[in-house]
């Protein structure tokens, strides 16, 4: 795995380091990190919001001494600030949930391969069941059962995503379990937990790890969809998806900016994550290393 990453990095030195999607993604991350510093307004602070300036068009002068570059929403929140803060929530939710889903999925998949028998059957039946349903349906069922809230959203996304990792990790781990170093580890009577986490897991995760960036993209889209349906993050702390949803009713009456600009920001985010993710996957895929 280490060698793979190193050779990928080496290769990268020869290829174009600055492609458009990478620059875009880096910009997004910078903006999200720096949001409190660069946003003209804190959209979570009622004292900074001027309710009578609700639904101002783009370019209107605001009471806070700055321009509403992209206008304000139905509650008077500056759209630029809403996008910047929403970006933070979208990214935190999707990165946290993808990382946790990868951890849980990989552990489950590797354990299924290591223990075999009924553990394998139980875990993989559950995985099959989940993968046979559309992700959005699994997420919907999870969120309906769990209830609202940001932590519940993260949990629902983990539930919706862990199975993909489990299936891939199990496939790789099955071929690793029979190798001599595993016999050696067992003969040394290492504790099972140590064998799984220190020996089997590191050798089985390479193909699954390349999936993480793409899955983060899926998580952003899924979170946005749930929030758009009103089942996601609470309305006073909007993510990009709920910012779009907040503006949807205004879209029909011609105040397009409330929905359109957060929507475009979301589209750019998902597109850049997916393109960079595809790139990473191609570069780390062992099958592409022959060339």
């Amino acid at each position: 795995m280490k060698a793979l990453i190193l050779s990928a990095l080496k290769k990268r030195r020869h290829g174009p380091a600055l492609s458009a999607p990478r620059v875009l993604l880096a910009t997004y991350i910078l903006l999200a990190v720096a949001a409190p510093l660069i946003a003209p307004q804190n959209p979570y602070d009622p004292l900074q919001i001027y309710g009578w300036e609700a639904s101002s068009p783009p370019g209107a002068a605001g009471g806070g001494g700055y321009l509403y570059l992209l206008g304000t929403d139905g509650l008077g929140r500056d759209i630029v600030s809403t996008i910047l803060y929403g970006l933070r929530i979208s990214l935190v939710v999707s990165i946290t949930s993808s990382a946790a889903a990868a951890l849980i999925g990989l552990t489950a998949g590797v354990s299924a391969a290591y223990f075999g028998k009924w553990v394998d059957v139980a875990i993989m039946r559950l995985v099959d069941l989940q993968l046979s349903l559309p992700t959005i349906l699994v997420a919907l069922i999870a969120i309906v059962t769990l209830g609202p809230g940001i932590d519940r959203i993260i949990l629902a996304l983990i539930i919706a995503q862990w199975a993909t990792y489990a299936r891939i990790a199990r496939g790789v781990a099955l071929s690793e379990v029979g190798k001599p170093y595993m016999d050696a580890a067992r003969l040394m009577r290492l504790p099972t937990r140590r064998i799984i986490f220190r020996h089997l897991l590191p050798n089985s995760i390479a193909p699954a790890i390349t999936l993480i960036p793409i899955e983060i993209g899926h998580a952003v889209a899924l979170e946005a969809t749930l929030s758009f349906l009103g089942l996601g993050v609470p309305i006073d702390k909007p993510s990009l998806g709920s910012a779009v949803a907040n503006g949807f009713q205004y879209l029909l009456t011609g105040q397009y900016w409330i929905s359109l600009f957060p929507g475009l920001a979301l589209f750019g985010l998902i597109a850049s994550i997916n393109l960079v993710g595809e790139d990473v996957r191609r570069k780390l895929d062992p099958r592409n290393h022959a060339q």
Binding site: P134, I136, L137, L229, L251, L266, N274
Partner: protein
């Protein structure tokens, strides 16, 4: 004989899946909190009230007995009465089903032929501008969230140009005891945007599949032979390539039809299309628990059954699968 055992095997697999889902659902419902408090008021209830409600809900019974009652109710479509509409939840669900089926069918009628045709043409001309454009477009169509796509369709198709209505079912006509939009011009007009929102990701998916199939089949010996025989490219494409790539396409059409039932949740709520998906979202927001349970169960079961049917159909359609079993 082999055929029958294959069918039975696949059906029993689907059955086991449904049993597993019912167990998970049962555990899920019971882990969300005591259902007694859906019936009695927490603040004013006396211990007698709570005991009475517990007995009335059958929660004093052993857990396996509760599970049997739960499964029995699900099988008979008995999910309780809607808190909002005061109708049996399952009946309410069934009354919304035609609208969703109509939308999904129209979307698939657009997506299947269009996607297949685009894929055939692109696969025929790999590397051309058309091929590259189609690939890029399909990647973006598959990666954007469906609500975003639906919103853009409303923005462009309804608000900027005013060509199509932005929501609702329009005028409906009566047929077979149900109301249908596609029978009237106004209803068809209302169908255009939501059907496109459901169809576009599927066009992309089917086009990619049919493109890769075409590339594979066109490189085989029999296609070369057809060409050597002097058949026109069009005849080769439609009489020889198309049947050979049809199995995976039919499979994905079946699977995606089930997926549409799930994605209809998003599209229907945006276009105010009064189908199952909108019912689900409305019921979640109104905390109408029986309807939510009925809808989610229905969509999940429909999806599993559809998967099984597609697999069986696959066996019938593909001579290799049929003969090997």
């Amino acid at each position: 004989m082999g055929m029958i055992s294959a069918v039975l095997g696949r059906l029993s697999q689907a059955f086991l899946l449904l049993v597993a889902m019912s167990v998970i659902g049962f555990i899920g419902i019971h882990s969300v909190g005591n259902p007694v408090f859906n019936v009695v008021n927490i603040e004013t209830a006396t211990p007698e009230d709570i005991r009475g409600a517990t007995i009335a809900l059958g929660l004093d019974q052993p857990i396996w007995h509760q599970y049997v009652v739960f499964v029995d109710n699900v099988v008979r479509g008995n999910f309780g009465t809607s808190y909002i509409y005061h109708l049996p939840a399952f009946e309410l669900l069934m009354s919304k089903l035609p609208a969703t089926l109509e939308l999904a069918s129209i979307a698939m009628l657009i997506a299947a032929p269009l996607g297949t045709a685009l894929g055939l043409v692109a696969g025929r001309r790999i590397g051309t501008l058309f091929d590259r454009t189609l690939l890029q477009a399909s990647v973006s169509a598959l990666s954007i969230p469906s609500f975003w796509l639906a919103m853009m369709l409303i923005l462009v198709g309804a608000l900027l140009t005013g060509w199509f209505p932005s929501g609702g079912r329009g005028t409906t006509a009566h047929l077979l005891g149900q109301d249908w939009s596609f029978l009237t011009a106004n209803g068809l007009w209302h169908l255009v945007l939501p059907a496109m929102a459901l169809a576009i990701p599927n066009i992309a998916l089917i086009a990619r599949l049919s493109r890769s199939g075409t590339i594979e089949v066109e490189s085989l010996d029999f296609t070369r032979f057809c060409r050597a025989k002097g058949l026109s490219s069009r005849r080769i494409l439609f009489r020889h390539t198309l049947p050979n790539i049809s199995v995976p396409i039919v499979t994905i059409i079946g699977l995606q039809f089930g997926g549409m039932l799930a994605f209809a949740v998003v599209v229907e709520s945006i276009f105010s299309w009064p189908g199952v998906g909108k019912l689900l979202i409305d019921s979640i927001q109104l905390l109408d628990r029986p309807v939510v349970m009925a809808t989610l169960t229905f969509v999940a079961v429909a999806f599993v059954l559809l998967n099984a049917l597609v697999d069986l159909f696959y066996a019938v359609l593909d001579p290799r699968v049929r003969l090997s079993s």
